[in-house]
Amino acid sequence: MMRIDLDVIQNWIAPQSRVLDLGCGDGTLLEQLGRNKQVSGYGLEIDHEQIERCIARGVNVVEQNLDRGLGNFADDSFDTVVMTQALQTLHQPHLVVQEMLRVGRECIITFPNFGQWKARWHLAFSGRMPVSDLLPHEWYDTPNIHFCTFRDFDLLCRERRWTILHRQVVSETRLGKGLKDFLPNLFGETAIYHLTR
């Protein structure tokens, strides 16, 4: 099954363009983009098993730790730099986004929206850090160290003067699907930003 944020992203990527996918996971997005849009590119990943899955499906994957930056990539070397569901795992997310905008002309970022009602509910009523299917870890062993909300990211973009080309939230639930356009920060499960410099 295709993750819903990956579906949205495909619409924002031009055919035959060059894409760098940060934290590419098992390579699903790059494989789809290659097949459907003749997009060429590379994925960066550090998880050993994910790297093997990429190799097995013929996706170009390079072992690289995003926390060490993108210094090995030249300015404007990609049309689009994508990072799905990895922002919250980075030590310095804002610097990585800055780098994405240097290396690519545009970038697309998706992350779990911590402002969603379920997370708020969990914290408000159980008094404990939210644990969900999308974020199944306990606070002490989670790779997710920098949570933010749809609105937080908006503020970061404004502060840094990044241009937002598109932004939206997606939700898997029926309730979320109905209400996400009115109250995105409350009902969006996953936030998707399409940025340029």
Binding site: R18, S40, Y42, I51, E52, C54, I55, A56, E63, A74
Partner: protein, 417 residues
Amino acid sequence: MPVFHRLTPFGPETGITLSTEKISASAEQQKTSREPGSVGIVVPREHTFREPLALACGRVLNEYTLVYETYGTLNADKSNAVLICHALSGHHHAAGYHNESDKRPGWWDNYIGPGKPIDTDHFFVVSLNNLGGCHGSTGPASTNPETGRPWGPDFPRLRVRDWVHSQARLADLLGIGQWAAVIGGSLGGMQAMRWSLEYPERLRHCVVIASAMKLSAQNIAFNETARQAITSDPDFCHGRYLEQDKLPRRGLAVARMIGHITYLSDDGLGKKFGRELRSGTFNLGAEEEVEFQVQSYLRYQGDSFSGSFDPNTYILMTRALDYFDLAREYGDDPVAAFSHARCRFMLLSFTSDWRFAPERSREIADALMHANVPVSYAEIESSMGHDAFLLPNNRYRRAFDAYMKRVAAECAEGVAP
């Protein structure tokens, strides 16, 4: 018996496998030619090429012999051939056994065979002893047809590209127009990369393991120290030791010891030997000389190597390593160099390898990405230093296997990428 009779050709059971031998001695002893993952008994073949080969140094070899082995079966459209390029002290015997009583299999038997990453159920594997070698291919220990005496130091200085050109002649001989993959570790990786630039249409995949686009000054320094050890041995006789019935064994042994230390890691040597003593004690009044395990290991490795490898070949091979500079003729721009490549690349490196450090492989990956050439790269955790590319390692095997399965699937489908 004169020395050179004993030496020519040098026994293929030695060379690069020395380093693996002690580490996995117990595993190796249990292996036989009948085990499921083995290619079994293999017979080396040789061919003498009579069409002159123009070398990078400007000289011409009028004729030369290459000795090689093949494993697996070439398919009907000849699309499943894989070339193995050997490293500094390697040779053609990469997998299987030469006879039932062989103690050790070929030097890359961990990765070549049925069900292994270079799967002989799918690939037709070609492995040769490079020109200049001492295991049956024409080299410094061979007879120079013009003089009737061993070439010795007069053998042409070879470059990596000369090997690539001679390998292309071998491909022609075997009717292989395009390799499914050219694969090599270390110096072998340099050959694989050179293939991608010299004959871009003749390979679909290039697998480069623990290699570099050029050696660092430190690397050249180690090689020079090794060469000095050989040439300063009084028995070296300016490289004409075979004619004088001598052999600079001590010098070659020291050269090999230097290599051994640097091809392993501090951690690897520590784990293997620590400060264990082989003999003697530090007790008051003890007369026996103290000897550490690592000392005796190094001496054993040096001695056994020096009886089975030609010193001039060692000098020639280390020089080829030093001279290699992938991008020299492309304005020192690796991106410009790799923009000529038409194949896909797979790169692997090992964390504790300090002679061909992961940074060197990352430089290759970066250059390939800038040139928009398909590449994958994995950095394998290992404490075994440069030698890790020869040794069993689960993650290495899985990543290598995943890549080669794709290559095999393409061969089966008859698709070129």
